[in-house]
Structure formats: structure tokens, C-alpha cells
């Protein structure tokens, strides 16, 4: 067990020696006969508790504690005082300069109790501080880990996807019928792995990163997302995108999460198209006003069974045995929850699905 270190400050030598005589067996004791000397000791030794007399020449106990609080905030401070010093005392208590005061002359039991209580406070605060630092460290490590693992996982996959691109550009896919089948299977697997890594990271980042408030330009954001998903899914000429952005107002929210939400819904709209449909269409509309952004994403794809509509936002729910982790819409819901947004869905089997999202505008009131 740690020995409790107590610094006792009093200008009367008698008091110092009687304190020492009373407590030397219980605590490690330091004494000082002035505020200046006390500060000198504190600069060299880490003590847990400082007890000081109020009435001392040059520097009073309260003055000393104000200084100590600034320089060494950790030790718990106890003031010894007569009944006549009430005014100085009230001020010191209210500003948090002292933990407790004891009227003189002190008795051994009362003072000992106070020292014990003060040490409890000291220990609890220190433990809390240590836990907080530990937590901060774990947090930092975890963030670095996510960053590096996301690179380590995605980098070789990106290389494989790059090779596949090249194989296509160099017409390797079409050299033989078997080759065509196998290359396409590999491409499917890579695409699925890519999607899984991306959504796992999105889920993770959404649950860990605090939300930020930044200006959102929907025209640019949606345009970037559409371009990205067209490229990633190789659907440039096969699906028609209709984008309609009506943003007369400034919109403030969290860009990362909005990208996650719209991106996942676009990705789903692409994934759940009807293979036989001649005119595959995805419509994205955004309307912004002072209070909300209302985003609708409509497709003319496979649609969702009525029975499934209330399950689609659950983790790991998948439709039609389709590719995917069943994480997409779950992440959308989680990201929306962080933004205080809402989502609703209407769908008719075999004719299409419409998702409607409402995200609050955090633009400050004028």
C-alpha cells in the first residue's frame, strides 16, 4: 500500500512538532513554517495532502492554496482556521481552493478522518485521470489500427481489381469461353470483397467518429457519388441516372455520413436492377430548405416484398440471396441515427423502390 504523504504548514513551530508527533507513524510527513517554504517542498516532492494554517505572516493559508492550486492541482488541500476567519474561508470554499476546513485547535481523530477522506478523493481523481488517459491511448491506437488495416486489406485488392481492368482492356476476358466465365467469376468475388471491406469500415467509422458540421454542396456530392458508382460497377452505359438537385439554401451537416447514406442507396439501386429491363433508371432528387434536406432515390428495379420491408434495415438481412453482406441498409440506418435523420421506403415488387430520407439542416438561425 502506498504511504500517504502529508505536508503541514504552520508558522508556529510547536504546532508542527505536535502534528509530527501525532501522525508520524501513520503518514510520511513534511513540514514547512511558511508558504514560501511549502512551495519549495512541493516543487521537489509529490505530496497527496496539504494542510495549512490560515494565519501566517507574509502569505495566508488561502493565498498559499490559490498558488498551489495553479501550480500543483493534484494534492487535496485542508485549511486550519479559527472562527474569526469566516469571510476568507467562504471565498476559498466557493472558488474550490480548499477541500475541507478544520477549526483550531484540531483534535487528532477529526484531523485523521479528514486526511483519510482527502486521500480517498485524491486516489479516486488520480484513478479517473489514469483511466481517461488509458482510454485516450486505446482510442488513438484503434484509430491508427483502422487506418492501417483498411489499407492493408484494400491495397492488394485494389491491385487485383487493377489487373482485372487491364485484362479487360487487353481483351483477355474474351479470348475463350471458359476464360470469360472464370474471369467474370473472379471479378464478382473481388467486387464482393471490396464491398464488404468498404461497408465494414463505413460501419466502424460511423460508430466511432463524432459528427461534424460542415457545408454540404449536394450537386457536387451526388455527382461525385454517381460517377464513382458508375465506374466501380461498370454500368456507365447500362443504367440511366436522373439527378435533380434543388438547393437554394445553405445546408450544414456531416458530409462523411451523408455520403455513406446516399452511396449505399445508389449501390443498392444498381445492385437490385431487373436484368431484363431495357431502360434501367435511377432517379436521385434532393430538395433543401432551412429545416431539412429531403432526398429521394427511386429505381425501377426488382422491388421488395411487402413482408420484407420492415426487415431490410436489420443487420445481415439479405434479399434474393443476392451478393452483399446485408450491411448496406443497416449502415444507412445507423448513419442516419447519428444525424437525427429519418428514412422511409415504398416498394412494389417487380416495378421498383423509392427511399425517402430526411436529414435536418444544422445551419445556424439568423
Amino acid at each position: 500500500m502506498t504511504i500517504i504523504k502529508v505536508l503541514y504548514v504552520d508558522d508556529e513551530e510547536n504546532n508542527l512538532s505536535s502534528f509530527r508527533a501525532n501522525f508520524r507513524r501513520l503518514y510520511e510527513i513534511y513540514t514547512a513554517n511558511s508558504g514560501a517554504e511549502a512551495l519549495d517542498i512541493l516543487s521537489q516532492t509529490e505530496v497527496h495532502i496539504v494542510i495549512s494554517d490560515q494565519r501566517m505572516p507574509n502569505m495566508t493559508g488561502v493565498e498559499l492554496f490559490k498558488k498551489i492550486k495553479k501550480l500543483y492541482p493534484e494534492p487535496i488541500r485542508i485549511l486550519l482556521t479559527g472562527y474569526t476567519d469566516i469571510e476568507a474561508l467562504a471565498d476559498a470554499i466557493n472558488t474550490g481552493d480548499i477541500y475541507r476546513y478544520i477549526t483550531k485547535p484540531w483534535n487528532e481523530i477529526e484531523l485523521n478522518n479528514s486526511i483519510q477522506n482527502a486521500y480517498d478523493v485524491f486516489r479516486t481523481r488520480r484513478e479517473l485521470k489514469e483511466k481517461l488517459m488509458e482510454l485516450q491511448k486505446t482510442n488513438d491506437e484503434l484509430n491508427r489500427f483502422i487506418y492501417s488495416i483498411s489499407h492493408e486489406l484494400r491495397a492488394p485488392l485494389a491491385s487485383a481489381l487493377g489487373v482485372l481492368n487491364l485484362a479487360k482492356l487487353d481483351n483477355v476476358f474474351t479470348e475463350s469461353e471458359k476464360g470469360y466465365e472464370y474471369w467474370n467469376l473472379i471479378e464478382d468475388c473481388c467486387a464482393r470483397l471490396d464491398y464488404n471491406i468498404t461497408s465494414t469500415l463505413q460501419y466502424y467509422k460511423n460508430s466511432r467518429y463524432s459528427t461534424v458540421k460542415e457545408e454540404v454542396n449536394f450537386a457536387k456530392l451526388v455527382d461525385d457519388l454517381v460517377t464513382m458508382h458508375k465506374l466501380a460497377n461498370n454500368v456507365d452505359d447500362k443504367i440511366r441516372f436522373e439527378v435533380n438537385i434543388d438547393q437554394p439554401e445553405k445546408f450544414v451537416s456531416d458530409i462523411f455520413r451523408i455520403e455513406v447514406i446516399i452511396g449505399n442507396l445508389i449501390s443498392n439501386a444498381i445492385k437490385y436492377q431487373k436484368p431484363e429491363e431495357k431502360d434501367k433508371l435511377i432517379k436521385i432528387e434532393v430538395k433543401v430548405n432551412r429545416l431539412d434536406a429531403i432526398i429521394t432515390i427511386t429505381d425501377n428495379g426488382l422491388g421488395i416484398l411487402n413482408d420484407h420491408l420492415n426487415k431490410i434495415f436489420n443487420q445481415f438481412f439479405r434479399m434474393h440471396n443476392q451478393k452483399g453482406t446485408g450491411l448496406g441498409l443497416f449502415i444507412v440506418r445507423e448513419a442516419l441515427a447519428k444525424l437525427d435523420g429519418k428514412i422511409s421506403v415504398e416498394s412494389v415488387l417487380n416495378s421498383g423502390t423509392r427511399f425517402t430520407i430526411r436529414i435536418p439542416n444544422n445551419v445556424p438561425d439568423i
Partner: protein
């Protein structure tokens, strides 16, 4: 200035992954937009080359594809050194950064660097590269 400066003369690719160097140089050669393509497997090697060829007119205009995540010196450190190159060099050079991840922190850093045109996510797509090149060198 001669009229052939409307297309970049050289492409420099900096990437520690030999597979990615191979893929991206092949993609770049398929665009038929570069007279020469040079590959470096470390930021240091690329910087050495640039310093030695600062006054070599054969190299310019120059287009650089720079990977972010590399051991020893990463793409951002490369750009710190790049910043100290003479203005005349930077005027004839464009840098596009590449990353295998879609990290928001990386994106913010790239957007705040006036010497970088854009951040592209790997794998590099030929259409994306072509479009970017025609936009820069129209």
C-alpha cells in the same frame, strides 16, 4: 511556348507496389497520351530523379501519379519536399495522388494542398485518367 506542351511529355509513377506500377504504367500507355513513362518504387528515388532533371527540357510538361501509403517516405512527405521546388518547375508539373483507401483525413489533406490536382482511388480507371488529362491539358 511550343504547341506540343498541350499534352504532357512525361509521366512519373511513384508507388512501392511493383504490381501497381505495372498496372498503372500499362493503363497510362493505353491512353497514348504520354511520350515517356517512368516508374519509381520509392518517393526518394523519384525526388532524386526530379532534382537531377530540373533543367532537362525533355521531361516537361510532367504529370506525376503519386501513391499515398508508402514505407519510409509517404506521398504527403513527398509533397512537402515538392513544395520547395522552384516555381518554374511546379508550373510545368501536375500531381495526382492515388490511394487504395477512401480515408476522409487523406482527402482533406489532399484538398488543402494547392500542388495536388486530385486524389484518385485505386484501381486507377482508364476513363477517369483520360478525362482528367483532357481537363488539365486542353
Amino acid at each position: 511556348m511550343p504547341s506540343n506542351t498541350h499534352i504532357p511529355n512525361s509521366l512519373i509513377i511513384v508507388d512501392d507496389s511493383s504490381v501497381d506500377l505495372k498496372i498503372n504504367s500499362r493503363i497510362a500507355s493505353l491512353t497514348k497520351l504520354f511520350k515517356q513513362i517512368l516508374c519509381f518504387n520509392s518517393a526518394e528515388a523519384a525526388l532524386d530523379f526530379l532534382v537531377e532533371n530540373l533543367n532537362n527540357p525533355e521531361v516537361y510538361p510532367l504529370f506525376i501519379l503519386l501513391d499515398i501509403q508508402m514505407p519510409e517516405m509517404d506521398g504527403f512527405e513527398f509533397m512537402k519536399r515538392y513544395e520547395r521546388f522552384p516555381r518554374s518547375f511546379k508550373e510545368k508539373t501536375n500531381v495526382v495522388m492515388l490511394s487504395s483507401t477512401d480515408d476522409l483525413g487523406d482527402r482533406t489533406r489532399v484538398e488543402s494542398d494547392k500542388n495536388v490536382v486530385r486524389l484518385l482511388k485505386k484501381p486507377l480507371q482508364i476513363e477517369e485518367l483520360k478525362e482528367l488529362l483532357t481537363r488539365i491539358y486542353k
